[in-house]
């Protein structure tokens, strides 16, 4: 399953769960707005093993969002709130 397919699964999940304004780009990140909170979603992927998680957390926090990590397997997602 490539990252784009994983993002599609995450996007569907977010929209089913009343998140809106779901956006992404070429990266493994997505943003979404909920009623009571806003998210940055980071896909678990081989790519992000090399990332500096603390930097990403800091950027996310400064934007007033929460950072959620999505581990996607087929249609299932396990979430980790960072």
């Amino acid at each position: 399953m490539n990252d784009n397919e994983k993002k599609e699964v995450v996007k569907n999940w977010l929209e089913r769960n009343q998140f809106f304004n779901v956006e992404t780009n070429e990266s493994i990140f997505m943003v979404a707005d909920g009623i009571s909170h806003r998210l940055v979603v980071m896909l678990e992927s081989e790519e992000n093993e090399h990332f500096h998680l603390e930097d990403i957390k800091m950027k996310t926090l400064r934007s007033g969002r929460q950072l959620w990590k999505a581990h996607v397997e087929e249609k299932d997602i396990s979430w980790e709130i960072l």
Partner: protein, 275 residues
Amino acid sequence: MLESKSANGLDDLLSKGNSEKEVDDKIKSEVLKEIQDFTSWLNLEKYCTETFQVSNIKIEPFSKDDWIMRVDQIEDRKEVFFNPNLLKNSSKEFFKVVVLHEYFHLLVQKVPNKEDATKIKDNFGNDFMSLIDIEADFYVALYLKSEKGYSKQKYWETYFEGVRVFKDDWIRNKKFERFLGSILTINRLFANDGVFDLILPSITPLFTEDHIKVLVLKKEHIYFDTLPLSLEELKEMRGIYLNPTDYDFEDYYKKIEDFTKQSKVEVLTKMTNLN
């Protein structure tokens, strides 16, 4: 290398919705098309004959100022500006609904600016302004129902996606009554075809009796009616009005549904059909 790529990807996404810059071209054209479709529908259904040149409608760069629509007279023509700031706290669909509501104030009701609303309140009272707002809600909902295939649930889901924007910290009676009036009017509209019933409630009788009084504006006449709602039901609605973000959509929608069912507004027979 990877670190810099990740930072750029995340930075791009985060800056998109937060910077003080032009709104995305795709959103701009979606909103303008929605306004065009709405105008065509209003003309086609003969609700109004006026039109507005789309070239005179602008979606402004993001601004923190507290306004949604502004109309300026520029020489012999009017220009209308929409502030996209709402998009930071709501969905695109909700933004479009708000834009249509404001545009109805401009095109049909001739109440475009905040000062016009203030003048109406000064000259005719708050209730009359509530009615004007409820009428704008009614026509936007009728358009969404008949032209965009909206169901009642989809309408309230879209509304829910923007509730943070207009959240009040305390109950302002007239605004609360206007909120209840919109719920009753719109749910009656979704439950029936061909009705034009604008419902303006007064919650004052609830302090002494188990009902509320409503003025119903029909196309043919106005009449006064009673809806069997109790203080308990009103408290439930107070909860979703003051703290909508405490609810998920299912609970929020259920409260609206329960309130509407209890009011019997969807099945009131006294309200005659238009056709």
